[in-house]
């Protein structure tokens, strides 16, 4: 990954063909594969992710079972492939919750100003004061367990970032000359918001959404590792790692491969996010 150097790489990364950044190409490749796991798992594996073959318990990785088999004879690769849908779905929900709720709060704070702004930003201060995983845990306690609740909890714990960004963008656009011109020509505030503020703020907010993707994968899988996600035998990635814990000494493949899948997706997501961030910074 030649572009990871902080600062000095900024100028070199510009306007180069994609194949000059092999790390980025590899990351995109990883993401495409994992998305295809989620959409069409049957292209990748014919093994059943839920029912195992008792005769094939705890087999090491081989050509028949790429990631080996677990204690009930289930193919681990099939479970990782089928789990992609659950884990990615949760991540997308989390990012959407954070993006939509955070942006709305930021928009209202920036546009209304006054007490609404103060109230919203104090809530944001509090959200920032509590480590996000503890905040998600509190929400999971209240909402109950399950993939969707975990996703919502992770999303809510990330609202603050989006609210701050959207508020700053709203304030920036609000004080610009063309908005003043639009106001003078008779455009009302709702029109200003939808025609000027939202389109202008959309770019940076989207970049933050991509940046949040990696963290969201990590937090969703951490919560499902702790046992608050999908109920077994659902093959969520975090719970796959967790269920292999009992076989650390005898069957290393049970924890190693699902964890590798999580790490690969997060690394790839963060690499792509950095590239997008760098590109938009130049514009």
């Amino acid at each position: 990954m030649p572009d990871t150097v902080i600062g000095s790489a900024r100028s070199r990364g510009r306007n180069r063909p994609l194949w000059h950044a092999p790390g980025l190409v590899l990351s995109l490749f990883v993401l495409v594969i994992v998305v295809s796991w989620a959409l069409v798992p049957n292209w990748w594996t014919t093994h059943d992710p839920v029912t195992g073959v008792p005769a094939e318990r705890l087999l090491g990785p081989s050509s028949a079972h790429l990631f080996g088999t677990d204690e009930t004879g289930r193919d681990v690769f099939a479970r990782v492939v089928h789990g992609a849908a659950l884990s990615l779905q949760a991540t997308v929900i989390a990012v959407l919750v954070a993006l939509v709720a955070g942006s709305l709060l930021g928009l209202v704070a920036g546009y209304r100003g006054g007490w609404a702004d103060s109230a919203i930003m104090r809530v944001v201060d509090v959200l920032l004061a509590i480590p996000s995983i503890l905040l998600s845990l509190a929400l999971v306690t209240a909402l109950g367990f399950g993939t969707t609740n975990v996703a919502i909890a992770v999303g809510v714990s990330r609202i603050a970032d989006f609210a701050r960004l959207m508020r700053a963008e709203t304030l920036r656009v609000r004080s610009s000359v063309y908005v003043e011109a639009a106001r003078v020509s008779g455009l009302r505030w709702p029109g200003v918001l939808t025609r000027h503020v939202l389109p202008n703020a959309f770019g940076p907010v989207l970049v933050l959404g991509v940046l949040t993707f990696g963290t969201a994968v990590l937090e969703v899988s951490a919560l499902s590792f702790l046992g608050f996600g999908a109920m077994p035998p659902a093959p969520e990635w975090g719970s796959l790692v967790s269920s292999g814990r009992g076989f650390l000494a005898t069957a290393w493949w049970l924890t190693t491969f699902p964890g590798l899948a999580i790490a690969a997706v997060v690394l790839a997501g963060n690499r792509v996010a950095r590239a997008i961030d760098r590109e938009t910074e130049h514009q």
Binding site: M1, P2, T4, V5, I6, G7, S8, R122, V123, D125, V126, L127, L128, A129, I130, P131, S132, I133, L134, L135, L137, A138, L139, V140, T141, A142, L143, G144, D161, R164, G214, L218, S221, A222, F225, L226, G227, F228, G238, V241, S242, G244, R245, L248, A249, W252, T255, T256, G259, L260, I262, A263, V266, L267, N270, R271, R274
Partner: protein, 334 residues
């Protein structure tokens, strides 16, 4: 800088008071937010849990009403809120529904066990993270710099629970050097500390490297070098010195991360501590304990930020306390 430190480094009393008020307000808001999430959000779902934790399934409305009364939930919401707020002011967050102990006692008695891995983790994170950032920005070998500075993004991307399990596989089961779990002796602290240090060290390295790179581009670096200072002296004596002070604003985030990371780390290594208490409390939907942990985390975060903000102008006299200067976290998340 001698004279300037003394005169400009003084912190005005009005500023201290304002920051103190801010701190208290954020704490109060953290309590309120956790009350809203934990006591108001679900309604009867949690009530049922409270009941079933006491023994038996309580679907029967009469029993539900009895439990509601026992936990003060038949009162109007505002009365409940004020009751709990005043109790919390005296350090009382209620009684755990699983152990029967007070939530505060459970959290406080778990603290030493967590500190036993959090303090070594912090030292590791600063030494290794700082080392990576310093060497990565110092070296003139391009490949080495690129290699070192690609480590922090890697460290942030690895799931900590997975890293912990890999360490157990390697050091406990393959090499048989260190225990996989428990809390006996120094050897049992090593793997959890390393696991906890990884994400924190990555953040330290990332922020410090960025700060160092910014300082390296400043004109004073050329001046000092032109006056004949060695590269090491420029890097350590000048660049690091200027870069370290902004990195100090990270203290609150780092502490919060250590506390948050203890949840996964202590679960992986089956250790007692605040993280384990939290995970168990969430599993049992033990609301008073969860609230105590949340408020504690917020308190630690705002107090550390308060201290950093008050010490900051002493370390860096250029920072003036104008009303526009926000709290430390404004700078961290910017």
């Amino acid at each position: 800088m001698g004279v300037a430190v003394v005169t400009a480094g003084k912190v005005p009393v009005s500023y201290v008071l304002r920051r103190l008020t801010q701190t208290v307000l954020v704490l109060w808001a953290a309590f309120t937010l956790s009350f809203v999430i934990l006591y108001l959000l679900p309604g009867d779902a949690v009530l049922t849990k409270l009941g079933s934790a006491e023994g038996g399934i309580t679907a029967d409305p009469e029993e539900l009403a009895a439990i509601r009364a026992e936990y003060g939930m038949d009162e109007p919401v505002l009365v409940q809120y004020l009751d709990r707020l005043f109790a919390a002011l005296t350090g009382d967050f209620g009684t755990s529904v699983t152990t029967g102990e007070t939530a505060t006692h459970m959290v406080v008695s778990a603290l030493p066990s967590t500190l036993a891995i959090a303090v070594p983790a912090l030292v590791l994170a600063i030494v290794i993270g700082g080392g990576v950032a310093l060497l990565g920005t110092y070296t003139r070998q391009r490949w080495l710099g690129q290699l070192l500075l690609s480590l922090p993004p890697l460290g942030i991307s690895l799931p900590p629970f997975w890293v912990g399990l890999l360490l157990i596989q390697l050091f406990s089961f393959e090499l048989r050097l260190l225990p996989a779990m428990g809390a006996e002796g120094i050897s049992s602290v090593i793997l959890p500390s390393v696991t906890l240090a990884l994400p924190v060290g990555a953040i330290v390295a990332q922020v410090l490297a960025k700060s160092l790179a910014t300082q390296q581009a400043q004109p004073y670096v050329d001046v000092v070098a032109a006056k004949g200072a060695s590269r090491v002296r420029v890097h350590i004596g000048h660049v690091l010195r200027n870069a370290a002070v902004p990195a100090l604003t990270l203290a609150g985030v780092v502490t919060g991360n250590l506390l948050a990371g203890s949840v996964v780390t202590e679960t992986v290594f089956s250790r007692d501590g605040i993280g384990r208490v939290t995970a168990d409390a969430v599993t049992a939907q033990d609301i008073p304990v969860v609230q105590a942990v949340i408020v504690l985390a917020a308190a630690v975060f705002v107090l550390i930020n308060l201290i950093v903000d008050l010490v900051y102008p002493v370390l860096d006299p250029r920072i003036a306390h104008t009303p526009a200067a926000g709290p430390a976290k404004e700078r961290i998340h910017a």
